[in-house]
Assembly symmetry: C2
Homo-oligomer: 185 residues x 2
DNA sequence: TGTACATCAGTGAACGCGCGTTCACTGATGTAC
DNA sequence: TGTACATCAGTGAACGCGCGTTCACTGATGTAC
């Protein structure tokens, strides 16, 4: 059952996309190659025509998901409001790859970790551009600090089995970031 | 080879302690029951005399590790300086259980998640007490915001394969948290 | 206090299941003429 | 443009390894007398 070149490219994309959602939702280890293939509408045997190994899929999936993730195009507060929304918290499968997979990626292949680091640098640079203020060092500090707070808050909000606490973490971190940090110095 | 009651209690403690270090270092899935028992100086067969299952061990280990973790006894800045130190970043096995295991614990048993949530509440309350300011709501906001930033920064610093970026994240987040947040309002 | 024996914590071989990976096969694609 | 055939993407059965879990056994503990 050979398929056309276009169909094969489309299948490849479907595999990476399905893996991206499943990995973010359940983690690398809990998702099987067969599950990913099934979610992509294929059978598990064809997997090795697309990837060298599950580790290879993981690395490629991380790169793809990070490339897809929307960067901060609005102002810092607007971005934080979207990032720290209940909608984002509840959409782990479609949300920020860093928040969903950072801890596990540390222990993956060097390629996977390098892709995450590169995305982290891009994110900090992009946030710095959206941060108000004239002093570049000060804006970089605010970019790093607020990115750390956003990632930490989403993780803690998802962790909490108490919905009120979860909402509070999002709300208060949003307010804390927007509190005119730079204005204090 | 029956052992004395004291020895058995000591063995139990050794298992939980070894599991705590191994889980924080490599994650729940990558650590085998046999490895934990070996690290505790025992053989794998005896495991089920101490725990009902690996999941049971995970829940008990999380509770134990969280109970052991030192809370913020100093002022907020002093605590942040220790938490965001290079030493803590490099000691994943002995460091903060939340930073090491939060993402994976979300998908574990309800007991494990509940233990993490309880620890999160305790941590926020304790941080609030160490936060300067008179307005309680404002201090709680600072406690939540800075805890999110601390957890996020340690995770991002550990993720980065670029040592300079990693150091910078710790340093700038420390400075950002200490920037006299409360004084701005 | 000393002795006999029941208990039971720990041992290590074995089991069974699940998952990553392989492979012989199928049949649609796409190229050569 | 139409036809014959080589290619090769996808299929699904099978393999083998590793890990959680079980179990018959061992021998030290600790209790009954």
């Amino acid at each position: 059952m050979k398929v056309s070149r276009e169909q094969m490219a489309e299948n490849h994309r479907a595999i990476v996309e399905a893996a991206g959602r499943l990995f973010r939702e359940r983690g690398f280890d809990a998702v099987t190659v067969a599950e990913v293939m099934k979610a992509a509408g294929l059978t598990h045997g064809g997997f090795y025509g697309h990837f060298r190994s599950k580790d290879d899929l993981i690395a490629k999936t991380i790169e793809h998901a990070l490339a897809q993730a929307p960067g901060p195009s609005a102002d810092l507060d607007g971005y934080a409001a979207r990032y720290l929304s209940e909608g984002h918290r509840d959409d782990r499968a479609g949300g920020c790859p860093t928040a969903a997979l950072a801890t596990e990626t540390m222990r993956q292949s060097p390629e996977a970790r390098a892709a995450m680091t590169a995305a982290l640098k891009r994110q900090i640079d992009a946030l710095q551009l959206q941060t108000p203020g004239t002093d570049a060092a000060e804006r970089r500090q605010a970019a790093i600090g607020s990115w750390a707070a956003m990632v930490g808050a989403i993780i803690l909000a998802r962790l909490s089995d108490d919905p009120q606490l979860s909402d509070e973490i999002l709300r208060e971190t949003r307010a804390w970031i927007g509190e005119g940090r730079g204005a204090a110095t």
